[in-house]
């Protein structure tokens, strides 16, 4: 999933300065699962905004709405667009993708602001904790590295083994980060393919990653 965290309330109040009719949009996708921007968080944030405005003696009217997915125009059409004209700002609690698609589909010149910072593509470690697993490099290395991604899990994205800073299974950058290459070596050994380590992995083709410019993917059979 895409993992996000809510922006500081001070930042959000800054975006809303001078606006009274707010459309607060949650998303039932990834941000619901990581508890950053689902219906529950929409209600919590609406309450915080109302309280902050009340303290300042300022008026506010918030429409709360949570869409199926903000990253898909199918769910942005009538439901949301029909309500937009009654508001002077949209605050989206979706990931950066959702915020941008909402802005693209709103034709009225209304401002759209994000309420969360989009962090990474990751998985759940335990309740309330997520960690990054994939950088979307477009050229998956997992078959070569025991199913553990060196691009993501190694702080230096090294493809041919650990740097000299791996110690007791920890990364030199921070003891809270496990050394990605220690994990890869352990997995290769456990699965009986440690000899695979000695094959030199050639430089990556980063043109398939973001370095090649913003990417597009077309499935001719679906278009």
């Amino acid at each position: 999933m895409i993992v996000a965290e809510q922006k500081p309330i001070e930042d959000i109040m800054g975006y809303l300065e001078g606006h009274t009719r707010i459309l607060l949009l949650g998303c039932h996708g990834c941000v619901t699962i990581c508890s950053a921007g689902g219906q529950k968080e929409v209600d919590l944030l609406a309450g915080m905004i109302e309280l902050a405005r009340k303290r300042k003696g300022q008026e506010v009217s918030i429409t709360r709405m949570t869409l199926e997915r903000q990253c898909d125009p199918e769910f942005l059409q009538e439901e949301m667009l029909g309500r937009v004209k009654d508001h002077d700002v949209i605050l989206s609690m979706a990931c950066g993708v959702g915020v941008q698609l909402v802005a693209e589909h709103v034709q009225t010149g209304i401002r759209v602001y994000p309420a969360v910072d989009t962090l990474f593509m990751g998985g759940v470690d335990q309740k309330g904790q997520w960690s990054e697993r994939c950088q979307g490099c477009g050229d998956c290395k997992l078959p070569l590295t025991g199913g553990i991604c060196p691009v993501t899990r190694c702080s230096k994205s090294l493809l041919n083994g650990p740097c000299g800073g791996s110690r007791d299974g920890k990364c030199e950058v921070n003891p809270d980060i496990p050394c990605g290459w220690q994990m890869i070596i352990d997995r290769l050994e456990a699965t009986g393919c440690l000899d695979q380590y000695e094959k030199i992995i050639e430089p990556a083709d980063w043109s398939k990653a973001r370095d090649g410019g913003p990417r597009k993917y077309i499935r001719p059979d679906m278009v």
């Binding site: 702080s155 090294l158 041919n160 791996s166 110690r167 290459w181 000695e198």
Partner: protein, 310 residues
Amino acid sequence: MSQTKSNLERVLKAGKFAVTAEAGPPRGARPEVVREKAKILKGSVDACNVTDNQTSVVRMCSLAACTILQEEGIDAVMQMVCRDRNRIAAQSDILGAASLGISNLLCLTGDHQVFGDHPQSKNVFDLDSIQLVKIAAEMRDKARFAGGKDIDGPPEMFVGAAANPFADPFKIQVPRLAKKVAAGAQFIQTQCIFNLDKFKEFMKGVRDRGLHEKTFILAGITPLKSAGMAQYMATNVAGMDVPEDVIARMKGVAKDKQKEEGIRIAVETIQKLKKIDGVRGVHIMAIEWEEAVPEIVKQARLQEPAKKAK
């Protein structure tokens, strides 16, 4: 492959026990700082490394400082890390260095930028050190860029890499060295050695695979300046192994005698390293203490008439 103009390569191939040192470039644009270091080291070393923004702190670039060393008559080893340059910049710098007469290249991963004075910067790591070794060797041997196009005037570089016998996972350190040798590393500089037992275990693994006959291994030496430095390195420097007995020995002498003790430990370590089959020289990293190098070289009798190393 042909012989380059590298003095280090010539010395190693002649079977002499090689001595290299390290000069950290200044945090400014004054060339005389490099010239001063060159004057201290000249006559004591066969070649001198210039670090490449080590610990991710901005310094004069290695290429420029290497050029100054060469002007002072010292064979320079240009260190190049993968942190700050992509394959375009790396190859461009190799061509530039070769054009200025630099003949040795040490390919390194590079410390992560969080350790330095610009922790907000973006890192590159387009390549890793093994890929960089392979590219540099193929630029020379095949006159070909990484992208496949021909080079008009290939760079004649003696190409090396680093090994850290004290990093984890230990079982992968010999295979990792094998990878570097397969990629084209002609010489290897190791992390500084304080734990001789572990280094011997590493070298046995190296010999078992015959790697010592395919590359020249230079054992890393760092003279300790003080007991505090020993303690700091043991606990705060990633990939460093300073055993308790070494720290205790430094603590056991008066503060004003600790520098001498550090040099004594370095000299004793060199004597022991010379007896290890497969060690073809030493690389002395006297951190911001270049004056220690001539003293160590003298006490360890390293620049006396050639002794035949195995």
